[in-house]
Symmetry: C2
Subunit: 350 residues, 2 copies
């Protein structure tokens, strides 16, 4: 069965201000300082599994140009544009209808565009396994990340009975736990992290929508003859905003009867916070993550120092701070209080 | 007797990095955040005493364009350009020869371009008094700033006998003292600060050079017929670099027999350090000096926060820091350690 990978690249990434802004969110930024955006890394990772024509990016229409700049080898008609932000369920339903119109029944994976995966070989291997299952059973397959710490920032999946060599039936999805609960999860060995990576066939997911989220699929499929014609975008622009704004987790995953998870040790991070980026990156001898051309740091430890442009930076006596300098903004913030940055940004705009 | 004011604007202002850089030093910057550079303020202050044609700016040749931009009403031939940095004595000798060639004997004042004077009416009044003395006696006159604290960053002048209603003979010049000595000076009432403001006639200062710093005046006056001709700049370019590099204080003031000081309470600061700027400026309720368009400060106190371009700034939990953001540089430094910034800049350039 034909395989597709759908990369979701419509998020606004507000937690990485000022590196990430609404006009250029996190997935379009070289946040790791390695010369490639997270989206670009996701695209290249996908090319190890499918061909370039089988990669689809779904994004908000305001980011279409950013996607084309970042992925110039993509076919423009493989970039699907949302006219409004309606969360992940409508976005996935749209991709499913688009692929189904082109290929009939096919299998496709959905990947976030702003995560990091270190072990790409393991990732490819697990994905192929997941594609195989999705092609032969009406199952929704997720990659479940083997947890390495009692993280309270991730959703958890409780594994049930083993159904295949590497796959387990999903017993239940768990919201972000408190620390005590997360420690219990970790100790039990029964849980994996929900990384937002899903694999299914078009028949399976469209069927699941019809059963559990009919409003969305009915709205988008009212005139399914338009898909893969030059009427598609105008049609989407008119109907998409009317779909229910809901995540795929709530709309489908928690209700669907046949969800599997393949435990995957792929070196994954959602890079959801500056602290998670900090944990992930190489550090200097003082424990600083430095992404800047020229710096003189004196008694500066465990800081993130990041600027996207050529700049001389001198800092003295600072510990555990996030220092991010961008053309239009400067952030100097204690690392352990980054959850408050969002409120500070709202005060800026008053 | 004709009056001139010579503004010295050739310094590099390295202590205000990164706001001040060698390509645009302190005197050309709106360091007070009021829409005018320190040079511009000095020029406008001078216009209260003399006409625009009687104001001369001496600067390094690399800053000629900056002077013209900042003072568009100046006659270009009133901007004297040093081809090399040879300290203040050669600079003043050059100005004296230039004025003497034009006016014969005239009185002129020398003003630094990067200081602040708050009480401009008092300043004008004292300057006119000084001009009167310099026109009638072969005296070197300085304005002596009445000290308000035992500052260890300034040179001091010990007043001797009173020679006129407001003028005292200078007993001696004192280098920057330590704190105990400065406290003694302050308590005695016998000392004033040396602000680098001098008034004399061309005859007096040229005569003083001939007696105490003949190398300088002989080098510059070897062909005095060139002054005020279109050969002047080429001549200066060839001879000026050969003059002794020495301050006017060492070369003349400490040796000259008839130096007077007029105590002047003019709200003066040399703005020699970030801390002195901080002391001088208006503060928010948390004691911060803020020169930035949009800021959200949370638990930030007694900081200087300065950026020359439109930027959103969010800072939390910082006290007594200097935070200066410029296009090519960022400084985050404890205010009480600013004397170390110079060394850090040298490390940057390694």
């Amino acid at each position: 069965m034909k395989r597709y990978i759908v990369i979701m690249a419509g998020g606004v990434g507000s937690r990485f201000w000022p590196a990430s802004t609404e006009s250029r969110p996190k997935q379009f930024i070289d946040i790791l300082g390695i010369g490639k955006s997270l989206l670009r890394l996701t695209f290249e990772r996908s090319l190890q599994i499918v061909g370039p024509d089988e990669i689809i990016v779904v994004t908000h229409e305001q980011y279409k140009d950013l996607v084309l700049q970042d992925l110039p080898e993509m076919r423009p008609d493989n970039i699907l544009c949302e006219p409004s932000r309606n969360n992940t369920a409508p976005c996935i339903a749209y991709a499913a209808l688009h692929i189904a119109a082109k290929e009939g029944n096919a299998v496709f994976a959905v990947l976030p565009s702003d995560h990091v995966i270190m072990y790409e070989d393991v990732f490819s291997e697990k994905m192929i396994k997941a594609f195989d299952i999705a092609a032969t059973e009406p199952a929704i397959v997720t990659l479940g990340i083997s947890p390495t710490r009692p993280d309270t920032g991730y959703g958890y999946i409780r594994k049930g009975t083993q159904v295949q060599e590497e796959a387990y039936r999903v017993d239940s999805f768990k919201e972000k736990p408190n620390l005590a609960t997360a420690e219990t999860y970790l100790a039990s060995g029964e849980y994996v992290w929900n990384a937002g990576i899903f694999i299914w066939s078009t028949n399976t997911i469209i069927g699941a929508f019809k059963k559990h989220a009919a409003q969305i699929i009915d709205t988008l499929a009212a005139d399914s003859a338009v898909y893969n014609t030059n009427l598609e975008q105008a049609y989407i622009n008119s109907v998409y905003p009317q779909t229910e704004k809901i995540s795929i987790d709530y709309a489908i995953l928690e209700k669907y009867e046949q969800v599997y998870t393949i435990p995957a040790d792929i070196g994954w991070s959602d890079l959801g916070t500056w602290a998670s980026l900090f944990d992930y990156m190489d550090k200097d001898n003082s424990g600083n993550v430095v992404q800047a051309t020229t710096t003189v740091l004196d008694n500066v430890t465990n800081c993130i120092i990041k600027t996207s442009h050529s700049k001389d930076i001198i800092i003295k006596d600072l510990h555990n701070y996030i220092i991010v300098d961008e053309e239009n903004a400067l952030l100097i913030y204690p690392k352990d209080q980054e959850q408050e940055i969002k409120q500070a940004i709202q005060l800026l705009n008053k």
